[in-house]
């Protein structure tokens, strides 16, 4: 790392005209990057900037949907908006708990899908390395939850957690764990638990398939060397797998974090934010503000604040990512 830095500094010191090859490399680089950047600008930048702009206006049914400049009034209003902060809190809880669960589960599943956590001596007696039978089928099954349409599966989960007809209660009753059906979606805490359960079920495959791809790219001879050194599977995992998988872990975390923070369909269908707003998420609230209350200025302010809070999280994530990058190479 140290050497790397000075290295690049050295590069910078080369006089302009001598950096021809670098320039052409750079221009190729730009050619490759620019289409993606343009599309990102089109799809993201305009909406985000327009939100920043609108947040300075009052634009709602009260103003006949005409923008009226209002300065920071929207932000002021937001400070006292208990519903927003409640939603923020709900979202945070939901995000943190479900993403952590998903990460742990996803990692375990990825390791299972990868077949052999130790990577070595995986050969069956009398033969070469052989994937266990039906491994592709298991992979498909493992990713299935992610493949089901959220809107529809939300309904299914609501039905599964139904207090009268739901499978969860039925099974718990049959097993004798509970004596009376639990009103899962009817109580604030259990509703949140149910929502998290559904999300964990649904989104874990996202993490596991990403990590699986990462696992597959770790050279096996590292595991071989390490297990020769006498490493247990757990040591293999912590000393080889984890560090080498860090980029993928961070990416998976980042995306799941973003997705969970923006959770919409599932909650909307499953609980509608209820009971009593206990599962209302930021995106639900913002969506309602914009689409149903037609309170555009205020909605924009909510978007902006949410966005800025998220960017704060990104800063941390990026820091971690760049660190992990230094670790490899």
């Amino acid at each position: 790392m140290q050497a790397d830095k000075t290295h690049s500094r050295e590069q910078r010191r080369i006089p302009k005209h001598e950096r021809l090859s670098e320039c052409s490399e750079e221009s190729t680089g730009w050619i490759l990057v620019i289409p993606a950047l343009l599309l990102l600008l089109l799809v993201y930048a305009y909406p985000i900037l327009s939100s920043f702009w609108s947040s300075l206006f009052a634009e709602n049914l009260g103003t006949q949907l005409q923008p009226v400049f209002s300065g920071l009034a929207n932000y002021q209003r937001m400070m006292g908006d208990g519903r927003f902060w409640q939603a923020m809190w709900n979202t945070t809880i939901f995000t943190v708990v479900s993403v952590l669960l998903e990460l742990v589960l996803g990692m375990i599943i990825a390791l299972i899908l990868h077949r052999c956590p130790t990577g070595s001596a995986s050969s069956a007696p009398g033969g070469h390395r052989r994937p266990f039978p039906g491994r592709n089928l298991v992979r498909t099954i493992a990713i299935l939850p992610w493949a089901l349409p959220t809107a529809l599966i939300g309904l299914a989960w609501a039905w599964i957690f139904n207090d009268q007809f739901g499978v969860v209660n039925d099974i718990l009753l049959r097993l004798g764990i509970i004596e009376q059906g639990i009103n899962w979606l009817g109580m604030p805490n259990t509703a949140m638990m149910a929502a998290i359960a559904a999300d964990v079920w649904k989104a874990t495959p996202f993490i596991s398939i990403l990590l699986l791809a990462g696992l597959q790219s770790i050279p096996t001879d590292l595991y071989e060397a390490h297990s020769l050194d006498g490493a247990t599977p757990w040591q293999n995992f912590t000393l080889i797998t984890l560090p080498l998988l860090m980029p993928q872990i961070l990416i998976a975390l980042l995306f799941r974090f973003a997705q969970a923070f923006g959770i919409f369909d599932l909650i909307k269908v499953m609980t509608g934010g209820g009971p009593g707003g206990a599962t209302e998420m930021v995106s639900l609230y913002i969506y309602a503000t914009v689409m149903r209350y037609l309170d555009f200025g205020y909605g924009a302010a909510l978007i902006v604040v949410t966005f800025l809070l998220l960017v704060f999280a990104v800063a941390i994530a990026f820091w971690g990512l760049s660190k992990s990058r230094a670790q490899i190479n």
Partner: protein, 279 residues
């Protein structure tokens, strides 16, 4: 210890994993072939009798609506957006991973930031863009946003995999006379197939299942995608949630995805860089 893992924990893990993933899915499948009475019966019917089994939900699905058309629309939109996402995102990822670009840090920070933006919140503005470009009710109206929304994921994932490849391979290719584009396509990509397939699968699934955009940007009957069509399935009343037909639609809508994952899953393999470099 190792033997225990191999002989007990691992098979057990597989079984638990299958149960965990498949349980709710099987319940959906079961629901889709149960008659309505059995769906809402108390206690739950796990093993329906012959009288409680029916294919009517499927029949209804296929007879009442142009389901194949919806499937086609979904497939077209998903395939095109996935392909264009990979086509645009992978080169960018490569450039950001390996080519020296001034301001690379800023670009990366920007992409990471965009990643975090819940896309549900930008759909009104996107709608504005779509209308401005007069793309409403054309496949592009979905392909463009899906591509854009999936780009950050593609770029980040592919970039991380590119960074893990041995740099000497590119050096060898450069000396052989490959240009940057050829290095990317003939040397780097084949080695990152697992990552490529993985991102592809994730992108494809996203595009296949996306609901809000598809609902808003496509108003013509012939342009609707599967999830929107599923939302139009009615029960016997406005209030009734038609669990049976919806379950059937879920099954039908997910089957192509499962097939895709099954077929592509083979590509997620190990050791593509084995033997490349020493040291």
């Amino acid at each position: 210890m190792n033997l225990i893992i191999k002989k007990i924990i691992f098979p057990l893990g597989v079984v638990v994993l299958i149960a965990f993933s498949l349980g709710p899915v099987l319940w959906q499948v079961l629901t889709s072939v149960k008659v309505n009475e059995a769906i809402a019966a108390v206690p739950n019917v796990y093993f329906p009798s012959w009288q409680q089994l029916t294919l009517e939900h499927y029949v209804e699905l296929f007879t009442r609506r142009p389901l194949l058309r919806y499937l086609f629309n979904s497939a077209l939109v998903s395939v095109s957006s996935t392909l264009s996402c990979l086509a645009i995102g992978t080169p960018a990822a490569y450039a950001l991973a390996r080519l020296r670009i001034q301001g690379e840090q800023i670009i990366m920070a920007g992409i990471l930031t965009l990643t975090l933006f819940p896309f549900v919140l930008i759909f009104l503005e996107l709608l504005e863009i779509i209308q401005g470009l007069k793309l409403g009710n054309s496949y592009l109206a979905l392909i463009i946003p899906y591509t854009g929304i999936n780009l950050p994921l593609t770029i980040l994932v592919m970039r991380s995999f590119f960074q893990q490849l041995p740099k000497e391979l590119e050096d060898a290719a450069k000396v052989d006379g490959y240009n940057t584009w050829q290095i990317l396509t003939t040397i780097m990509l084949p080695m990152t197939i697992p990552a490529l397939v993985t991102t592809g699968i994730l992108t494809f699934i996203f595009a296949w299942n996306e609901f809000i955009f598809a609902l808003t940007f496509m108003t013509q009957e012939t342009m609707k995608t599967i999830p929107v069509a599923a939302a139009q399935i009615g029960g016997s009343s406005v209030f009734e949630i038609p669990y049976g037909p919806i379950a059937a639609a879920t099954v039908v809508g997910t089957l192509p995805l499962a097939l895709l994952v099954f077929l592509c899953g083979r590509q997620i393999v190990q050791g593509l860089t084995a033997g490349a470099v020493k040291g």
